[in-house]
């Protein structure tokens, strides 16, 4: 058994809305090992977003303990969690969240700017390497508004890779893309996985879950299914079989 990256110990998260207490998560426990490609699925209201925020150290559980890379997160303050996110997590968002009018390489450098250990030169080198890994080495100095959606999401993925995180957290990463481009992005995720990256893919789309090697399904704040995917689809093959677009 390889090293466990994530360990959730009966996580509960309650929100106070007016006089009512909303139980978004009602005791969730699972662990994810290094090198896994996990999808977390659930319809809206299932606690998926809350799960994502807690996994991303943006939020802390009301009860229970969350260990990221063997570090207990619940007791950390805001600044400590900021540093933790900066060093251990790479985020990929549905709407890319690139800085406008900023070049690809500068966007990718961004997380390293909040890490004083890197010099300007090292930042640039690592950013170029990360862009190379997502196949954008010919788009280094294109500005974010001069790129297509797929390219922007690749830049965002490069940004998530640049700090060598232990975990890549993708939130509906293909939600804004057409099928063709979405498959391309899934190919990229599968490639990254094959190179040993730990990836958590949060989505409501069961189709995409087929590409991951473990599926966790949430409903009403509880895990209702947690199983290994027996039939992992190759995004690359699907992409090749996709009818050619006429444009």
């Amino acid at each position: 058994m390889s090293k466990s990256i994530i360990r959730l110990d009966s996580i509960k998260r309650n929100f106070q809305v007016g006089d009512e207490t909303v139980h978004a998560l009602r005791g969730v426990s699972f662990s994810i090992s290094e090198g896994e490609f996990v999808s977390i699925m659930g319809s809206s209201g299932s606690g998926k977003s809350t799960m994502l925020n807690i996994l991303g150290c943006l939020d802390t559980p009301t009860e229970g303990e969350y260990y990221l890379d063997d570090v207990a997160v619940s007791s950390m303050n805001k600044n400590e969690r900021s540093t933790l996110r900066n060093r251990k997590i790479g985020f990929v968002f549905q709407s890319y969240n690139l800085l406008p009018k900023t070049t690809a390489v500068e966007n990718v450098e961004l997380p390293l700017q909040y890490n004083p250990e890197y010099t300007g030169k090292e930042r640039r080198e690592k950013a170029i390497k990360a862009l190379d890994a997502v196949g954008l080495s010919d788009r280094l100095y294109h500005k974010s508004n001069e790129m297509s959606g797929g390219q922007m999401q690749r830049v965002a993925i490069a940004r998530a890779l640049v700090n060598d995180p232990v975990l890549i957290l993708a939130d509906e990463a293909t939600g804004n893309l057409d099928t063709h481009t979405a498959y391309e992005i899934m190919v990229l995720f599968q490639e990254l996985h094959s190179k040993g990256r730990t990836i958590i893919f949060v989505t409501h789309n069961p189709e995409l879950a087929a590409f991951t090697n473990r599926n966790i399904v949430l409903r009403d704040g509880k895990v209702i299914k947690d199983s290994a995917n027996e039939h992992i689809e190759s995004a690359k093959k699907l992409l090749e079989n996709l009818p050619k677009q006429e444009d």
Binding site: L58, R85, N86, P100, Y114, N163
Partner: protein, 406 residues
Amino acid sequence: MNIGNLIKISLRALNNNKMRAFLTMLGIIIGVASVITMLAVGQGSKKSIQSQISQMGSNMIMIQPGTGMMGGVRQSSSDMQSLKLEDYYAIRDKTSFIASVSPSVSSSGQFIYGGNNYPASISGVSPEYLEIRKLTIDQGNVFSRQQVASAAKVCLVGQTIIKNLFPNGENPIGKVIRFNKIPFSIIGTLKAKGYNTMGMDQDNIVLAPYTSIQKRVLAITYIQGIFASALSEDVTEKAISEVSTILRTNHKLKATDQDDFNVRSQQELSSMLTSTTDILTILLACIAGISLLVGGIGIMNIMYVSVTERTREIGLRMSIGAKGKDILAQFLIEAILISFTGGIIGILLGGGASFLIKLAIHWPISIQPYSVFLSFLVCTITGVFFGWYPAKKASQLDPIEALRYE
């Protein structure tokens, strides 16, 4: 995140909204430029007044008889006869802080030369008077001690007198002019001094030996005033108290008696006039300061817009590891950058405007280093002060909410 990066980020953000950044800056530019210009004008007029006063003789001390009662009637000081030549001699011989001293008697009347006449007053003084009043001889000579002793009918004339009595450009030296039928021969002319701050023509002047005026014009033995100059401006106060002591002894005044004379220096005049211009300067600076304040509010407003507009960016930065203080610094630096750049442009513009004022309407201006420094300081503080609140608000955003912000 280091400061260089923060400045770079802020510059890009401003660059993305050039017009908005410029308009925000404009408030600061106008504020700073008006502070600089107003202070330059205020300081300029203060300086010109000071220099005019020092041209009049900044260490000059004037002694006049005090007002007093004569036969139950309060007299004007020029009618009082309390100052005597003995007082003049005493001040001349017994003081240690006085450089030169001259008695003064004067009479006004009509000067006549040939077919021209001109009303003016003639002052009876000693040769030291020229030194005290900073007057210089243009042509000819000052009257001598002998001429003073013999009450000679000689005089020195200023340029206004020359212009009016000798309109054809004759050389006045050696000519005889009449003052109330008494002939005075001109032995020297005075260099032009122009008008002083109070609008008095300093060239409308005729000087004669005080003895001549006393004996031949006024037929009096007392003197109307004494002019003296202190060794330097710094010892003026000491010289005044010395003169007062001497005069009190001379006049045999008891300790309880009031002075029967007035001793005044130019410093009083100078401080009176400069305090007037100081008030003016403060007033102008206040108006300018208000415009700087308005500019600052402009910054605050636009920073609010900027924070709201970039909520998602803030959320992203936080999610990838920016701490609250990083976000605070980013927006604060942006605000400071606006006010700082505005400040520099404002200073240049203010300097230019002051220079234009000097060229166009010939007002005296003086740009003080302190006013430049001050407005620079003020606009940086403005940036911090008005940038702080929006930046603080940005730094306290919840990254989850910020990322979801539409």
